[in-house]
Symmetry: C2
Subunit: 218 residues, 2 copies
DNA sequence: AAGAGTATCAAACGCATGTTTGAATGTCAA
DNA sequence: TTGACATTCAAACATGCGTTTGATACTCTT
């Protein structure tokens, strides 16, 4: 690539780090930590294979920094803490839509969700950190929304089951994507489809939760 | 191991094949196709590393035969085709319970579900075969049950979304198990828990489907 | 008893991986 | 200009993988 352009200053690219961080996010999200190779990352980033070890100390540390970076950007882009604003039903739909966009969307914004989905299935050493940093806070928010709709008189276990039912519906489309593509090739994972599917999951879950609430009130 | 015992007949073990098939099922279910190593399989089976290539021709062919074997045993053990017997609500609960037992149970009976879950997430060349052989037939049965409860007037897309919502809730506990263990360590994946969780998913889904049906009828 | 066929084994092979090395190149203060 | 420092690079390294090999032991037929 642009090797001869430097025209003077600097050793051509002080931003090898940034390039690696970006490309690594892309490759890790695509293949997962184990299946991704440093050679592939370096090839796409147009840097030498030794760069990863020079700048980051190894594949594992690069992965950790990629996740750290993904946390920050995702937190800005898809705020889940719209707490208390509007009725809980509205917030539920927002939560589900944002969540699915994070898992299934395209581009850098979706790396976060894809990396989390990978970690869920095939955890590395950083799983605990991810849970505390990203998953548990979101579960707390969703639990709050569900609790608000359910009303009084439900055990933590019952509430948690509802939360898992909602999240399960969402991540299914991400986790089982290869199978879904085979089962029903006509599904296009574009933004319009995500919105409609998020709408279905919201309706489906709201119906269930409201019925539980109604039964308890009697 | 028992090398000197042979006492006369046979080359000690003509059943190296069976042992390999069994152990491979265990290891593949535990680690997935890629992460499982032939050396680990052979170590657990107490056979030489060359045995896999001698008897099966390679790791991939062994995997294919393990799946083939798992299909047959699972089909006997957990029959999903209880079609038409009893009310659809009852059949839904049976379906979900059997499905979750297959994904989360212990022992050889659960290999099938675990192998399928692995294949969903990280497909190998046999994914298509698995879909046609195991997944699509079951989806058809579940679709039948859901259609029966929903009644007339729903598009294939609406019905499929409900089916995915149900399956998503089930496989979540299998796919996201490592995360769930961190999030809530108190959950014990025993048979009693599976039954109760299957009950929740049934209630949750039934509530949603019935509400959809009721709305459409008006 | 002899030879053909089958099964097992330790060892090695070829390959891909993450990592390290040592030289080469450029920057910048002294 | 010089020397210390940072960065890049091609090449080599160490390890683990699936697979192959050639010898060995055994059974069974003749």
């Amino acid at each position: 690539m642009a090797i001869e352009i430097q025209l003077g200053l600097k050793p051509l690219s002080e931003d090898t780090c940034k390039s690696l961080l970006y490309t690594a996010g892309e490759v890790f999200a695509e293949y997962g930590f184990r299946a991704a190779t440093v050679r592939e990352i370096c090839r796409r980033a147009n840097v030498n294979v030794a760069s990863i070890n020079y700048h980051f100390g190894g594949k594992e540390e690069l992965y950790a920094q990629v996740l750290e970076h993904a946390f920050r950007t995702a937190a800005e882009k898809y705020p889940f803490d719209t707490a208390g604003i509007g009725p809980p039903e509205k917030r539920l739909e927002e939560f589900i839509t944002n969540f699915m966009r994070g898992c299934l969307g395209c581009g850098q914004a979706a790396w976060h969700g894809k990396l989390m989905a990978r970690e869920m299935i095939d955890p590395t050493g950083v799983l605990t950190r991810i849970v505390e940093r990203a998953i548990r806070p979101r579960k707390k928010i969703l639990t709050g929304i569900v609790t608000e709709i359910l009303g009084e008189g439900f055990s933590d276990e019952e509430i948690e089951r509802c939360v898992f039912s909602i999240i399960g519906q969402c991540v299914f489309y991400s986790h089982a994507k290869p199978v879904i593509i085979v089962i029903n090739p006509s599904i296009k994972y574009d933004d319009s489809w995500i919105t409609r599917t998020a709408g279905h999951i919201t309706d489906f879950s709201l119906a269930a939760i409201r019925l539980m609430a109604r039964r308890k009130r009697r």
